[in-house]
């Protein structure tokens, strides 16, 4: 049972007090993603005990949950109704929360096929940088009233508000999953990933590591087995295990001490010729790179392919962790920040030195 715990009043008071004193706050849920983004600063605002599933009727395909609720507990509540979070969020630790997941905007291996966390966020309730409670979006799948502030909160790293609760569209659990493997070069694998994604097959994952392309198929047994017949390849014995270690970064690839770069590129972009070990997922659209090359060199190479690079883990967190935006885009970001957090006290510097 998930504890029902409403800490709105305390959180609101803490934020408005900090705003009056212009004191910075770092928002912490379960603390499993403290490594991500620029170095956190300021007094800790703990949201991990603001918990509970407040609305969940499985037949509406929507769940509303308080931000501090642990991801693992939410997943269990959904699993009992044979449902799931479609964006397959990473579990970087047992305490990871849904609020932190939404704030960091992280999605797992199914992202290119089912969608990203932002695609499933239907509404949020938040406290702005003055501690005012605001509600945007709602609990319905279609809603175009007002600007889409709920999705704006996704990936904002808590810099625009403290998420109190979030309404998320859920999916039924697939009846069957199978993983097919192929020994290929990276170039061949990239080609196949893109080719397969253009065919009407129940594809929900495609990754490539150390000479092996893995494709995951999910859905009704009939559809999956028909796809297996079409695609051939060898069936992985522990497909589920591989996908979850990739999702949670517990796969041996992620154990390196070198800085980990997250390179987001067009799925059909050619192989990157950067020194360092890579892991390709998202059907080619996400390339992980362990490398000690200079950030400028990595950024320039990725930009040339139409993508962007994030220093995901390790390395120098005092500089630009996220890819710099153009001047105009950056100014728009700054003005949005000022709208939601005029005193600049919420997770200052976590996303960008000026934000």
């Amino acid at each position: 049972m998930i504890q029902m715990n409403d800490r709105t009043a305390e959180l609101s008071d803490a934020i408005s007090a900090a705003a009056s004193a212009k004191r910075s706050l770092q928002i912490v849920g379960g603390g499993s993603k403290l490594f991500y983004g620029r170095e956190p600063e300021g007094e800790v605002l703990a949201v991990g005990d603001h918990t509970g599933v407040t609305v969940y009727d499985p037949t509406e395909l929507v769940v509303t949950v308080r931000a501090g609720t642990r991801l693992s507990e939410l997943a269990e509540v959904l699993r009992r109704e044979r449902q799931m979070l479609p964006f397959e969020p990473p579990l970087f630790g047992p305490h990871a929360t849904i609020g932190g997941t939404v704030a960091c905007g992280l999605s797992g291996p199914s992202r290119p096929y089912r969608g990203a966390v932002r695609d499933f966020v239907l509404g949020v309730e938040l406290l702005n940088g003055r501690g005012e409670r605001l509600r945007f979006g709602g609990q319905v799948i279609k809603n175009v009233a007002g600007y889409d502030v709920s999705r704006l909160m996704t990936g904002a790293m808590g810099t625009l508000g403290v998420i109190l609760d979030v309404s998320i569209k859920v999916h039924p659990l697939p009846e069957t999953e199978k993983t097919l493997c192929y020994e290929l070069t990276e170039q061949q694998a990239l080609k196949k990933m893109n080719e397969v994604a253009g065919r009407p097959l129940p594809l929900t994952g495609a990754c490539y590591y150390q000479g092996v392309l893995s494709l995951r198929l999910s859905g009704l047994a009939e559809g999956v087995s028909a796809a297996v017949d079409v695609l051939g390849g060898s069936q992985a014995s522990d497909g589920d295990g591989m996908w979850s270690t990739l999702r949670d970064h517990s796969h041996p690839y992620f154990l390196s001490d070198k800085p980990l770069w997250r390179l987001s590129v067009p799925s059909a972009a050619r192989s990157l010729d950067l020194a360092g070990e890579t892991f390709v997922e998202w059907g080619g659209a996400l390339r992980w790179l362990h490398s000690e090359l200079s950030p400028d060199l990595i950024r320039a190479s990725v930009e040339a392919l139409g993508g962007h690079a994030t220093l995901f883990r390790g390395g120098d967190r005092t500089g630009s962790v996220f890819h710099p935006n153009t001047r105009t885009l950056h100014d728009l970001n700054v003005r949005l920040k000022q709208t939601f957090d005029p005193e600049g006290i919420l997770n200052p510097g976590r996303l960008h030195p000026d934000i």
């Binding site: 499985p58 279609k142 502030v149 080719e195 859905g219 559809g223 998202w282 993508g307 996220f322 885009l329």
Partner: protein, 494 residues
């Protein structure tokens, strides 16, 4: 609201018009009454106004220069696509330049490998799927106006369609936008990759109703065309049973590609119009489409029909051929014109509710219908809770349109009370500006104004639409508490 038919476009400096002429092609500036007349309204035809002038650029540089000119001269700009929008998002103002993007109608390229297409905003929605079809791909959002509506307008409204539950809205199917800001600077939002650094401006732009910038290029995602699709036509003798069966169906884990409901008045109108084979005496019908491989479709048909049977359906037909599937849909797809035939005018409402509230909300709508003495036909995207009550009225009867509008407002407020929203896919525009005051608190509206100001500090893009001023809401709420009647219906709503 009464809008005067102002026929002169004086008030703007001749210098502004001279500069506009210099920027635009010879036939690209419409100023005479006859030329401006076709632009006096969009799909919300109850509101009409001649624009200051209509600019029809055909190159990006012209758009940049026009916006920069408007910015310097302080002239408001309203962007327009095909003008099919139903909420008045493109309703002109006499002091604003109407910027028609119709000449930006090029499909720049279709990339079958990365499954994307780059298109200009004036490209019709359906034309994208037509261009992608040779590669076995399609563009998923399919608003019912898809033959005519443009992708630029779809982005502005975050358009949906009948396949949203499975395939998502516009926001889920676009990845990159080129946008010109009010000062004439072009920016790129999103990318060909699956995400971008910084705040999710793509989400803000989508559905922003032309308030933040003018979109000039859109990169859309294309999906593989399913191998097979079948539709089930199900009849019920009670609306409640139809609604319950939808919940039961979702509980089995099937996500239909489309799931539509119509009530008896809508059924009869549609049947008279299109011979779709709907049972005329049913209280409600459902059209449920499933897609996938042949085997998946057969299995889903088995699951859905057994749910409908156990929920007390009085008739279940499964499409045996593609022709029959199209026939099942024909009635639904023509529901609006069909209703147009049984009434001199109709007014389409667009609320969304949690599906479990359907019975309650429909009962409320029936009650309002009799209070106002106006018939209502209900068409419902049952899968995603998006309700389209069609109010039948006669615009020639004095006061009937005003009564219809008021009834529409009441229905939207009912949707908000049921935990839903005032607009699922048509946008706020001018039409629902007062109901925004019901859905949002002033502090929330202030944040919307802040978002607007971040992009358009002087408020020149589509002013007066989408987000009401706090003053307007104070007035609306104050009056609203009494009897919902606006004492000065003639005051300017902008």
């Amino acid at each position: 609201m009464k809008v005067g038919n102002v026929t002169s476009n004086t008030g703007q400096s001749p210098r502004f018009f001279r500069a506009l002429r210099d920027v635009l092609p010879a036939d690209g500036l419409l100023v005479s009454d006859e030329e401006r007349r076709p632009y006096e309204c969009d799909g919300l035809t109850g509101y009409r106004e001649l624009p200051l002038a209509v600019a029809m650029p055909d190159r990006l540089e012209q758009v940049e220069q026009i916006l920069s000119l408007c910015d310097r001269h302080g002239v408001p700009v309203i962007a327009r696509g095909a003008g099919t929008g139903l909420s008045g998002g493109a309703t002109p103002r006499r002091d604003a330049l109407l910027l028609s993007m119709a000449r930006f109608s090029r499909i720049i390229d279709v990339d079958p490998v990365s499954r994307t297409a780059r298109v200009e905003p004036g490209v019709r929605n359906l034309a994208i799927s037509e261009a992608a079809a040779p590669y076995g791909l399609f563009y998923a959002p399919d608003p019912s106006s898809q033959i005519a509506c443009t992708i630029g307008g779809n982005v502005a409204e975050n358009a949906g369609g009948v396949h949203c539950l499975k395939y998502g809205l516009t926001i889920h199917n676009i990845i990159r936008l080129e946008v010109v800001l009010i000062d004439g600077e072009k920016i790129t939002i999103g990318s060909e990759a699956l995400d971008s650094p910084g705040y999710d401006l793509l989400a803000l732009m989508t559905g922003s109703e032309g308030m933040l910038g003018v979109v000039t290029v859109i990169t859309v995602r294309l999906l593989p065309i399913p191998v097979s699709a079948k539709a089930v036509l199900v009849a019920f003798d009670e609306v409640e049973k139809a609604a319950d069966s939808v919940a039961k169906l979702i509980a089995t884990g099937v996500i239909p590609a489309g799931l539509e409901m119509m009530d008896n008045l809508a059924i009869r109108a549609a049947e008279d119009f299109s011979d779709a084979g709907y049972p005329r005496d049913a209280a409600a019908i459902l059209i449920c489409e499933v897609d996938g491989t042949e085997a998946e479709v057969d299995r889903q048909i088995e699951l859905t029909t057994s749910v409908f049977a156990s929920e007390g359906a009085i008739d279940i037909q499964v499409s045996a051929t593609e022709q029959e599937r199209q026939r099942f849909w024909s009635g639904r797809k023509n529901a609006f014109p069909a209703v147009g035939r049984i009434s001199p005018d109709y007014y389409c409402i667009d609320g969304t509710i949690p599906r479990q509230q359907l019975g309650r909300v429909l009962a409320g709508i029936t009650e309002l219908s009799s209070t106002y003495g106006l018939r209502i036909a209900n068409v419902f995207h049952a899968g995603d809770g998006n309700l389209h009550p069609l109010i039948l009225y006669d615009g020639a009867q004095p006061g009937e349109f005003e009564r219809t509008e008021e009834l529409g407002g009441k229905i939207l407020e009912l949707c908000v009370k049921a935990g839903g929203t005032i607009t699922g896919e048509h946008g706020v525009g001018l039409e629902k500006i007062d109901q925004m005051c019901v859905q949002f608190e002033s502090s929330e509206l202030e944040h919307f104004h802040g978002v607007k100001a971040a992009f358009d500090p002087r408020g020149l893009l589509n002013p007066g639409k989408a987000v009401p001023t706090l003053a307007r809401c104070a007035e609306f709420n104050a009056i609203h508490v009494h009897d919902g009647r606006i004492p000065f219906p003639d005051i300017d709503r902008f």
